[in-house]
């Protein structure tokens, strides 16, 4: 098992992290920047070999880490099986995933202070705590804005089966919000002409609208009007894009479709792979139902069934198409679940102080386990990674500087890494 939990540097990093948490950021520089930046990146550092796309798999509701990827010997309720990382066991609900973990870095040392769903999902997506006075953009919006689009015809950020509130552009504006796909089978809406409108009809309409728009833009050249310039060209570009086919999962063979599992999540993962192929930057697919306060084990098993097939197939599929090195597949949840149970009817409660995320592809180490929790899985024992760090790490993986400050229209400073108070840093040591 490749872990770095015993090396001196990371233990010092642990001290620094705790000092930072307890005393505020200003302490780290006093202790020397070489210490502060060994496992986590220096501010401003960029990945020289960036990934192109991200597939973000959002385990909505709080995935029970202790019944999936962080199984302790005391857990008598779940049988574990060997994975393809030597010495690392996972729940027997995850037989396919167990086989592909040697492509992944498992981060067992996620930690957060936020134990409620809306705030936790907000943080996971936006890297800020909700403030009430501004809406922060989602990471997909940041990425689309900072890295730009690869495919100029298609949206840069697509979210599948995910609440719109998680995927908005916030103060960056709707231009950076995700294009939303509800059912994966339905693809992007309104991309086909109305049934009784011929191509000539459509072109006549555009011709009239174009003429009116030209006059309007000449007469009312305000910034808001200018923001609309070219919008129809964009829309028509999407409508006419040959890559629009990427939204049609029906183009896949029935074997391929059933390999992902005929669930919304499975088909969403398939759609994500198709979108990666045509150069969409950031795709999110959500798997809900992890909030297992009641009957945790039945619930976790059922979710794992969907997850296992889709996740393993996604990794294998990307790999076989040569896309895994340029695509970061991130599996994350807003928090984990309480190791001490039962809560209520054989359930588990929210647990933010330790949980698990997994990153595969995009240049992260293969078959690495980063960090660990205490024996009872209650706390992080080494190499803590905050949600701020996780999002910074995704940005780093794409070659972005997570600490670059960008100002909102109201002149307030923001960065991917999060606020001054709790700013994260990329975990660079998980990259090859």
């Amino acid at each position: 098992m490749r872990t770095n939990s015993t090396d001196e540097v990371s233990r010092r990093q642990f001290l620094i992290d705790n000092a930072r948490r307890l005393l505020g950021v200003s302490v780290a520089p006093m202790l020397g920047s070489s210490l502060a930046t060994s496992a986590h990146a220096k501010e401003g550092s960029k990945n020289a070999n960036p990934a192109r796309s991200v597939i973000f798999l959002n385990m909505d509701g709080g995935m029970s880490h202790v019944d999936t990827f962080d199984i302790k010997s005391g857990n008598k309720k779940v049988n574990s099986i060997e994975s393809s990382i030597k010495g690392f066991k996972v729940a027997n609900y995850l037989p396919q995933t167990a086989k592909v973990l040697n492509e992944c870095t498992v981060i067992n040392s996620m930690t957060s202070k936020v134990g409620a769903h809306p705030q936790g999902q907000y943080l996971l997506h936006k890297n800020y705590t909700p403030l009430g006075t501004i809406i922060h953009p989602s990471l997909g919006a940041w990425v689309t804005r900072e890295a730009g689009r690869v495919n100029e015809e298609l949206p840069g950020y697509v979210a599948v089966n995910t609440p719109a509130g998680h995927t908005g552009g916030g103060w960056m504006g709707a231009n950076y919000s995700a294009a939303l796909v509800g059912k994966p089978e339905e693809g992007l809406k309104n991309v086909d002409r109305y049934h009784s409108v011929s191509e000539k009809d459509f072109n006549d309409r555009l011709k009239i609208a174009d003429a009116l728009n030209a006059k309007f833009h000449q007469n009312y050249a305000t910034p808001e009007v200018k923001g609309y310039a070219g919008l129809f060209d964009e829309a028509v570009k999407v409508m006419n894009s040959e890559d629009l086919e990427a939204f049609k999962i029906s183009k896949e063979s029935s074997q391929m479709r059933s390999a992902y599992g005929m669930t919304d999540f499975g088909q969403g993962c398939l759609l994500a792979r198709r979108l990666v192929e045509v150069g969409v930057r950031y795709i999110e697919v959500t798997l809900g139902g992890w909030d297992t306060h009641y009957d945790n084990f039945t619930g976790v098993e059922a979710r794992c069934k969907e997850l296992d097939q889709a996740y393993a197939q996604l990794i294998n599929d990307l790999k076989s198409k040569g896309l895994l090195e340029s695509t970061m597949v991130v599996l994350a949840s807003e928090f984990g679940r309480g190791p001490v149970q039962p809560q209520y009817n054989d359930g588990r409660s929210h647990h933010a102080s330790s949980f698990t995320s997994i990153i595969a592809g995009g240049g992260v180490n293969k078959g690495m386990v980063y960090g660990q929790t205490s024996k009872d899985a209650m706390k992080v024992a080494s190499d803590p990674v905050t949600i701020y760090d996780l999002n910074s790490t995704i940005a780093y993986g794409l070659g972005l500087d997570a600490h670059k400050v960008v100002y909102s229209p109201g002149k307030r400073p923001f960065r991917i890494a999060g606020s001054d108070k709790e700013k994260g840093a990329p975990v660079t040591s998980i990259f090859t």
């Binding site: 809406i135 309007f216 919008l231």
Partner: protein, 654 residues
């Protein structure tokens, strides 16, 4: 008004249609609130100050718009939609020296006014259908209903402020807007937003630290918070651990009595009881003092120290730090609405000025700036005076603004340069809100958008699986009278009782969440398939509205987005607008257009109906070419309508 549909009409000319429609009741009885002469006087006073401002700054006085532009602007600003085809043609054809003020009367007497204001309240007060944790979700319908009534009855702004800040009690037991402060966990954020809504002052930075950019210190936030400090809502009842231990016992001792499905429903009942009983503002709200937070870092206080209330600006009011002050909420509201707190009247006067005139008098919408630090000192002070003279009657105030000559200025075509301050030289084109877009599309689809069905109020019945148990008020009273143990017993007793009565669908395996949502009432309102104004949808409405940037009404005020997206363009080109208007022979637009004889006449009518203006020569030529080049003439006219509706001119107010 005579319905066109009910009449057998020969193809007729434009003029004939108007005869048929009959005059709208444009001269409906004028506003019954405030003397029209006073409105006129105040409107003139505003115009005089604006004229002085032009002279002072050497700005050329803008021209007054044509009737059609005035009409479209006035409709959108006052009732949140464009005119229907009939309203538009009628106003344009009307020959009357005072037709603009007749229109203003018509608009401010319209039901559309409160619909439009309701959306504004939803955004400003971030009113969502429900809030809370996933265990106890509270319906926000009572508060939403209260705001809807406030809009419909033209409640004065200071009364509204006072009511929401001082009302206490369980929301189902009182007709007051209790529960305003209980918005999930974000109590501090909600306080900052409230202060900003009413005074334009931003305290959000001072929540956590001294604000380096403004004068506010963290202590200011806490001494203000002292006024509203108190228990967060009511506590939920019952000992959840005990309840579920008992369930497990029952499952073991009498297998079959409680299947997992039943446990789910019992849980739903538990959550619903608490959602009803614990929804409101605690009677103890408003201690008048507050404990400084553990991480308080400044010299003027120690962590954990109690501090009393002290207003940070405006009227000076205090509460003591040694004991609770029962009148603290009232003092808070007194301070906010006091004449000695000029921020109150100035902020609402400025906000509504921007709402009507399209020009903000401060750099950021809703921010308070001392009038002397703006270009418009005299104007702002006058507006605040008018607002106070009207006793904060928002409708009369807005009507006054619309009655000015300033409102009628042509939109400026000049772009603001970087750093240049706003002038009063005409509004700048801004995109309609998502709600204005929807309601305008309705105007082209149905004959009278303001008479469409409205949403029902939140039910006062406590339902279980569709059956009445008792009123929510009685249930709240009942639950709140029980101690923990009694509540646990009551829960099981009630559940057993209800189980016998459950309707078959629930028995037939509907899962617990279905039963739960049956108990909840936020899915109220008119049928989802039925056309209705934006204000009658759930808040927020998602779908079309989300695409056009409707505020999520989650946390931030002024959050609605007006930026363009590809999804919007796709919606306009290929979406609902096709079946609502363009390809719907019964749409209010086509009902008028299809009757017009003559190619040029018909094209002209399409422009008047959709964009409320006549085409220029190039546009006419282009459209004639489209008609002449088409094999199917009817389709060609549809294409012109579609082209106009998808043009950006349609979505902007200018």
């Amino acid at each position: 008004m005579v319905s066109l549909q009910s009449q057998k009409m020969a193809k007729t000319s434009f003029k004939n249609i108007l005869l048929f429609v009959g005059l709208l009741s444009l001269n409906a009885k004028a506003s019954d609130m405030i003397d029209p002469a006073l409105i006129k006087k105040n409107a003139n006073a505003i115009d005089v100050i604006v004229a002085e401002n032009f002279k002072l700054n050497n700005i050329t006085v803008p021209k007054v718009t044509d009737d059609a532009t005035f009409m479209r602007r006035a409709f959108l600003v006052s009732i949140g939609r464009m005119p229907t085809p009939k309203e538009a043609l009628q106003f344009i054809e009307l020959e009357h020296p005072d037709k603009r003020s007749l229109l203003i009367d018509y608009l401010y007497n319209s039901k559309g006014y409160s619909s439009h204001l309701t959306n504004w309240y939803y955004d400003l007060f971030t009113l969502r259908e429900s809030f809370g944790s996933n265990t106890v979700i509270r319906d926000n319908g009572r508060l939403i209903d209260w705001f809807r009534d406030a809009a419909a009855s033209n409640m004065a702004w200071d009364d509204l402020c006072r009511e929401i800040l001082t009302s206490r009690g369980n929301v189902y037991e009182t007709s007051k807007p209790a529960g305003y402060f209980e918005k999930g966990d974000a109590v501090d954020d909600h306080l900052s937003n409230t202060v900003r809504i009413f005074t334009g002052v931003r305290l959000e930075c001072a929540q956590c630290h001294d604000d380096p950019f403004q004068e506010w210190e963290q202590m200011d936030f806490y001494t203000l918070k002292a006024f509203v400090e108190g228990p967060v809502g009511y506590k939920g009842k019952g000992d959840y651990g005990g309840i579920f231990s008992k369930v497990r016992e029952l499952q073991t001792s009498s297998p079959g009595k409680y299947s997992n499905n039943h446990v789910g429903r019992l849980q739903s009942l538990l959550f619903s009881l608490n959602a009803v009983a614990s929804h409101g503002t605690s009677p103890d709200k408003g201690y008048g003092r507050v404990e400084l937070p553990e991480n308080y870092q400044y010299r003027d206080g120690k962590p954990g120290e109690m501090v009393g209330g002290r207003t940070p600006f405006g009227d000076k009011l205090r509460t003591g730090d040694s004991r609770n002050d029962k009148d603290s909420l009232t003092k808070f509201a007194d301070w906010m609405t006091s004449d000695k707190t000029p921020e109150f009247s100035i902020t609402i006067a400025n906000r509504l000025w921007e709402r009507v005139m399209g020009i903000s008098l401060t750099p950021v919408t809703g921010d308070y700036v001392d009038p002397k630090d703006t270009n418009f000192r005299k104007l702002i002070l006058k507006l605040a005076t008018i607002m106070k003279d009207y006793d904060y009657d928002m409708k009369t105030y807005q009507k006054t603004l619309m009655s000015t000559r300033t409102f009628q200025f042509v939109s400026t075509q000049k772009d603001l340069k970087n750093g240049e301050k706003n002038a009063l030289d005409g509004r700048r084109a801004t995109r309609m809100s998502a709600e204005q877009i929807w309601d305008s599309l309705l105007s082209l689809s149905v004959a009278d958008p303001d008479s469409l069905p409205t949403r029902a109020k939140e039910s006062s019945d406590f339902l279980y699986a569709g059956q009445l148990v008792m009123s929510k008020a009685d249930m709240a009273k009942k639950v709140n009278s029980l101690n923990t143990e009694e509540f646990n017993d009551y829960l099981f007793e009630l559940y057993e009782q209800l189980k016998k009565k459950e309707f078959p669908a629930a028995e037939a395996g509907a899962d617990s969440s279905d039963v739960y949502s049956n108990m909840r009432s936020y899915r109220r309102g008119v049928n989802s398939g039925q056309l209705k104004r934006a204000s009658e949808f759930p808040s927020p409405a998602g779908g079309f509205f989300a695409v056009f940037g409707q505020s999520t009404r989650e946390a931030a005020i002024d959050e609605a987005s007006k930026e363009g997206t590809v999804s919007q363009a796709l919606e306009l080109l290929n979406g609902q607008v096709q079946s609502l208007i363009i390809h719907n022979p019964k749409s209010s637009a086509n009902q008028v257009i299809d009757q017009i004889e003559g190619e040029e006449e018909r094209i002209k009518t399409i422009f008047l109906v959709v964009l409320n203006r006549i085409p220029d020569d190039n546009e006419m030529k282009l459209c004639l070419d489209v008609v002449k080049g088409a094999g199917n003439k009817a389709a060609a006219y549809r294409n012109i309508v579609a082209g106009l509706i998808s043009s950006q001119e349609f979505y902007f107010i200018f």
